[in-house]
């Protein structure tokens, strides 16, 4: 029932409220990561990623809940931890111990995480942009405001100027992104 409530919050775009309920699962994640030799800070980072990935999953059109949300979160954390360790030491790591329920999610989690890693690189490329560029792109793509309103908000001369500016910002972001990809 709690899961359904969380999903409903997400669907109604009350993300903060959904995240607030999900925070209850943090102790579970923290104890797992600590048992594996990680720190609370590690757990916090991985948990944040898990919340973001969960958000992505719920937003998908064909979303259906096959497992409890807590199971899904733990599966994402386990995958990330395993992935980090694998990358840190070149020797083959032992596969993380998955319960049967988590194992069913493994494939999906991997797919989602691979995508999310691309988005992380896009995020750092985005953050390298100037504040004004960031704001312009946010207003256009996330808040979906019309160009006229954006021009007003950013005190640009016209919608056309805003449009040209947006294009330049995008090009710049692309250069940063390609550098990120090459690293």
């Amino acid at each position: 029932m709690k899961d359904q409530k969380i999903i409903d919050y997400f669907k109604r775009h009350k993300d903060s409220q959904a995240f607030r309920l999900l925070l209850d699962y943090f102790p579970q994640v923290e104890s797992y990561i600590k048992a594996q030799g990680g720190s609370t800070a590690d757990a916090e980072d991985l948990f944040q990623e898990a919340l973001i990935v969960l958000y992505r999953k719920v937003q998908k059109e064909d979303f259906s809940l096959k497992a409890k949300l807590s199971t899904f979160l733990i599966a994402v954390v386990k995958y990330q931890w395993w992935d980090l360790r694998r990358k840190a030491s070149k020797e083959a790591q032992k596969a993380a111990k998955w319960t049967a329920e988590e194992a069913l999610l493994a494939e999906e989690v991997e797919q989602l995480m691979l995508k999310e890693q691309r988005y992380m690189r896009a995020e750092s490329a985005f953050e390298k942009l100037g504040k004004k560029c960031q704001r312009l792109l946010r207003l256009f793509y996330l808040e979906r405001l019309p160009m006229e309103r954006i021009a007003q908000k950013l005190s640009l001369r016209s919608a056309k100027v805003a449009k040209n500016q947006k294009y330049k910002c995008l090009k710049q972001a692309q250069v940063h992104y390609q550098k990120e990809e090459e690293r």
Binding site: D3, Q4, D8, D15, S16, Q17, F19, R20, L22, L23, Q48, L51, I52, Y55, E61, D62, S64, L65, K66, A67, K68, A100, E101, A103, L104, K115, R118, Y119, M120, R121, A122, E123, S124, A125, F126, E127, Q134, L137, R138, F140, Y141, L142, R144, K163, N164, Y167, L170, A173, Q174, Y177
Partner: protein, 575 residues
């Protein structure tokens, strides 16, 4: 890459203009740009999400310290909000305000006296001429006004609990139960089934297509299922079963199973969530030799990455189309569809190939041969274990002609060869599992219809009210619709025929408000009220920006029949 192209990409990304997709993807550079723009948006979104998480953390930490204070604040806030919402209701925008119809009682009675005179009012959906004649003729046989609506027919179905059993409702609902679905002891289970597929059935049963959270749904059919043991006690489900809602008209994407809860006088729906505790753990889910139709991971072919039903269907269609070769024949071959069923076993080997619905002896053989040539597959899995999965493929033939370069002898020889290869498998299959398919065998033709293109199929872990739905895809801005001048206790339904949606409201006072209704859809209003124990109804198309007045007429059984017919005709126009 230029500004114009970016505009095209933005238009596609932000407003989902599907027609642009092809244009963009035809150009490699544009396609890359589309991928990048999409990724960048997702990256920027991460910032916003992190903010939301931070906010949530801050709030919950503060929450611990000041719970008491917040509680106090919340209560007072709730009171204020409540107060204002009442005020708001009173002063709600009177945009859709319907003209009041303060009809004195005498007038109502006059109406009931007029019984069957069909007033050529423009506001009533028009009857076709033949209908009018029929109704008028029947009307001459004077009849009493109904005092209650008829209840939906109850169907009693017998389930053999010792075997895999497939049952069908009259409207085509399909229920597939594994052996011992209601525990090991029970031999026979009686299922009580009520089906609601047409608008009229839903309407006169006072059902609504609304979630518990107040979201509107488009229904692909609803049903009520109850189970009883031989001694008449309630039977308890111990295993998941499969439920199929026949696709009427065109198949719609995104249909999901919803469970219903009875609330007040209607049923509200909630999307089915696979709850772990509902799967009985002490009994292994996978029983040797059990055949599944739906599993978590469907079988797949080597090299295909998707394991869902949709991509499997596409893959089958593609491979079968490639494998089909018709030997030379002078005969004229018919158009139509052959249904072939087979089982993909735990090793991924296809066996038990059989024709469920035959079209023509030669084409049947051609279809079987095409299945025989399919390679070994990756087996389907349920809870991580490989299982047998039954699958039915429709193979359509249209304007098929024999290949001049492919002689019947050659075909027979090849078929013989393939049969030999499959012989061992098929023989083992026949003896071991034939009884498993018995029930399917009895329903030969019906079973043929359980193909995934003709059913919305779901796994279900519950019985009771069930509904196959998706969120109401109505277009336009969401606005409130207000109807005035109703008499207390009347029921008003807002109906969309294009997408099967019905929202039901009971008038507590003279005013009803339907909240957040997409304004670019066509709706109809249907109302029923009771006066001195008799039923009256009103039905009219809803026009935005115009005053709505509902003219009530007496509801008699003849009238009800005519109404149902009218609704059915109207509905057909939308399928």
């Amino acid at each position: 890459m230029n500004l114009k192209a970016q505009e095209l990409i933005d238009g596609y990304l932000l407003s989902g203009k599907m027609e642009d997709q092809k244009t963009i993807e035809a150009n490699a550079e544009w396609k890359d740009q589309l991928a990048f723009t999409h990724t960048l948006i997702k990256g920027a979104e991460r910032q916003a999400l992190k903010q939301a998480i931070k906010k949530a953390k801050a709030k919950s930490q503060k929450g611990f310290k000041t719970t008491g204070l917040i509680l106090l604040l919340l209560t007072s806030l709730a009171l204020i909000v409540y107060f204002f919402s009442i005020q708001k209701e009173k002063h709600a925008v009177k945009r859709y305000q319907a003209s009041t119809f303060e009809r004195p009682l005498e007038q109502e009675q006059e109406e009931s006296a007029l019984d069957f005179t069909i007033s050529p009012q423009a506001n009533e959906p028009q009857l076709s001429k033949t209908d009018i004649k029929a109704v008028l003729k029947e009307a001459q046989n004077k009849e009493d006004t109904l005092t209650a609506l008829p209840t939906q027919e109850v169907q009693l179905l017998k389930l053999n609990n010792q075997k895999l059993d497939t049952l069908f409702g009259k409207e085509g609902s399909c229920l597939i139960f594994q052996a011992h679905s209601f525990g090991k002891k029970e031999e026979e289970i009686t299922l009580k089934l009520k089906e609601y597929y047409s608008q009229a059935d839903i309407l006169f049963s006072n059902l609504s297509t609304e979630t518990t959270g107040g979201d509107y749904l488009e229904s692909g059919g609803m049903l009520l299922l109850e189970a009883y043991t031989a001694s008449g006690d309630t039977a308890y489900l111990t295993k998941d079963y499969q439920i199929g809602f026949p696709v009427k008209g065109e198949a719609k994407a995104g249909m999901a199973l919803y469970y219903g809860q009875e609330q007040a006088e209607t049923v509200k729906w909630e999307k089915a969530v696979q709850e772990e505790e509902q799967l009985v753990e002490d009994e292994p889910f996978h029983v040797e030799s059990e055949i599944f139709t739906i599993v978590e991971n469907m079988p797949s072919f080597e090299g295909s990455s998707n394991r869902d039903r949709k991509s499997l269907r596409a893959e089958f269609q593609k491979r079968i189309r490639e494998a089909i070769r018709i030997p030379y024949t002078k005969e004229q071959l018919p158009n139509g569809t052959v249904y072939v069923s087979f089982v993909v076993d735990e090793r991924g080997i296809i066996q038990g190939t059989r024709i469920l619905r035959s079209l023509h002896p030669l084409l049947d053989q051609v279809a079987i041969k095409a299945i025989y040539t399919l390679p070994q597959m990756i087996p389907g899995t349920q809870r991580g274990k490989p299982v047998r999965v039954q699958y039915t493929v429709p193979i359509a033939f249209k304007g098929a002609v024999g290949d001049r370069t492919y002689s019947p002898e050659e075909f027979d020889a090849e078929m013989e060869q393939l049969k030999k290869q499959h012989q061992v498998e098929e023989a083992a299959f026949e003896t071991k599992l034939l009884d498993q398919l018995d029930s399917a065998e009895n329903n030969k033709v019906k079973t043929a219809l359980i193909s995934h293109s003709q059913y919305y199929l779901f796994g279900s872990s519950r019985i009771g009210w069930m509904n196959c739905d998706r969120p109401f895809p109505g277009k336009g801005k969401r606005e409130d619709i207000r109807i005035n001048g109703l008499s207390k206790g009347s029921t008003v339904k807002l109906i969309s025929y294009r997408h099967k949606m019905q929202i039901s409201r009971n008038a507590k006072g003279g005013v009803l408000i339907f909240r957040r209704i997409p304004n670019r859809e066509k709706y109809q209003l249907f109302s029923i009220k009771q006066q001195k124990g008799k039923l009256f109804y009103a039905w009219k198309a809803f026009e935005q920006e115009k005053a709505v007045s509902l003219a009530y007429q007496a509801l008699t059984s003849t009238r009800l029949k005519a109404l149902k017919q009218q609704m059915e005709d109207l509905e057909k126009g939308f399928e």
